[in-house]
């Protein structure tokens, strides 16, 4: 039973859409846990930006850390250029922010996979095999080519991956204190991956010694 659970767990980990490729951490940082975080998702699409910033803010609040989304705090709608920098500096001062978290795209890639044609043979007798019956197990292993043999054509499929860089800055020193580079496999609307991505980033972030 334990073996099965472990196998299921390993399969789940292997299939996770987001994986952390590398992370860095400033070991000289002594500031401890952040108290008030400004969350900035540098995403062009406003709904996606709000979804990501709100999810980060929600997770921070769950840990008892104040957090404010940039779309609420910044007076400017754009996150590019001098206006953005001034807007961030002003929000940091006004709201007593001590840490800034930023998420930005670090590129993407497409991988082509060739799926060969398949003929699947279904074993007979599976419905008759009761649990623990060695006879039933053998029947399943020795599959019959008949009665069903679905045949599929070979095809190629594209898999898209999006890399995101998540960084945490200390406002007082203006230094980078934590950074993670992750890659997310996009198999549907990218927004569907936001919650899982944020959860993973939190897990990684709070593994770091000063934030534990």
């Amino acid at each position: 039973m334990v073996t099965i659970l472990l196998c299921v767990l390993l399969v789940c980990i292997g299939c996770a859409a987001t994986q952390v490729k590398q992370y860095t951490f400033d070991e000289t940082y002594q500031g401890g846990q952040p108290k008030n975080v400004l969350v900035i998702a540098v995403v062009r699409q406003p709904t996606t930006r709000r979804m990501m910033e709100s999810e980060f803010a929600k997770q921070f609040k769950k840990k008892g850390i104040d957090a404010v989304e940039s779309f609420r705090a910044l007076t400017t709608d754009t996150l590019v250029g001098d206006a953005a920098r001034e807007g961030i500096a002003s929000a940091v001062k006004e709201q007593g922010i001590d840490t800034v978290l930023t998420v930005r795209s670090a590129g993407g890639r497409t991988e082509e996979r060739n799926i060969p044609g398949m003929t699947i043979t279904t074993g007979g007798g599976m419905p008759y095999a009761s649990s623990g019956a060695w006879g039933g197990y053998t029947t399943v292993m020795a599959s019959f080519p008949e009665p069903s043999a679905p045949t599929t054509q070979g095809y190629s499929a594209e898999e898209k991956f999006l890399s995101l860089e998540t960084q945490l800055y200390d406002v007082r020193t203006e230094k980078l204190i934590w950074s993670a580079l992750s890659e997310t496999r996009i198999s549907g609307p990218p927004q569907e991956e936001i919650n899982a991505f944020v959860s993973l980033m939190f897990k990684e972030l709070f593994k770091a010694k000063p934030f534990r």
Partner: protein
């Protein structure tokens, strides 16, 4: 004959399933400000389009559907000038003049053309499976071929955002994708609006 009927029926069922699953409007992403607890007393609808005609059609449909649910709604084209594009401050001034506390902005983002197809598959189905036990092993199998099913479609991506006039901040927004095969985008305004309004009602953003 029986084999032919099974083939035709399979193709028809799969084609219908594919078309039904791909047509219509679906919300691909949605965000809501959990802190917002208000109910709009008057809604100002803005259809962001370079062309005046589609803009009025979108605004009218939103006004019609929201009014039908008991909301007080006004279309922007009835109070904003047609010729020149007003700036943000001019729009907000007009919104305040008419007493709207919530603004709905419907924005066209992109239109894409796509195609979907299902490759050929063959299934060998046993005959007489349920008539006698020995037919399972020695019975004849029938190949049911499912042909290549392919079709082109158009997909329009829109973003709809609700703003609170007092704070000028968003309180709800959604990205939607409307797919269709024929009839042009104008015919999709009604089902698109229905999908958005339905969601706004579910989220208790409007009545």
């Amino acid at each position: 004959m029986k084999r032919r009927i099974i083939q035709v029926a399979s193709v028809a069922i799969i084609s219908f399933g594919l078309l039904a699953s791909c047509a219509g409007t679906k919300l691909v992403a949605q965000w809501k400000d959990d802190a917002y607890q208000g109910h709009p007393s008057k809604i100002f609808v803005i259809g962001q389009s370079k062309e005046y005609g589609p803009r009025t059609l979108v605004e009218d449909e939103f006004v019609r559907q929201l009014k039908a649910r008991g909301n007080d709604v006004i279309a922007s084209y009835t109070v904003l000038p047609r010729e020149e594009k007003p700036d943000k401050e001019a729009v907000l001034k007009k919104v305040q003049e008419v007493g709207a506390d919530v603004i709905i902005v419907v924005k066209f983002l992109k239109k894409e053309v796509g195609d979907t197809h299902t490759p050929v598959r063959r299934y060998a189905v046993p005959q007489g499976f349920d008539t006698s036990w020995d037919s399972y092993y020695g019975g004849v199998t029938t190949d049911v071929g499912v042909r290549d099913v392919s079709y082109d479609y158009d997909a329009v991506t829109m973003e709809t955002t609700l703003y609170q006039t007092a704070t000028r901040k968003p309180i709800w927004s959604a990205l939607s994708q409307t797919t269709y095969q024929s009839g042009g985008p104008i015919k999709q305004i009604k089902p698109f609006t229905t999908a958005i309004v339905k969601n706004l009602v579910q989220e208790r953003m409007v009545q």
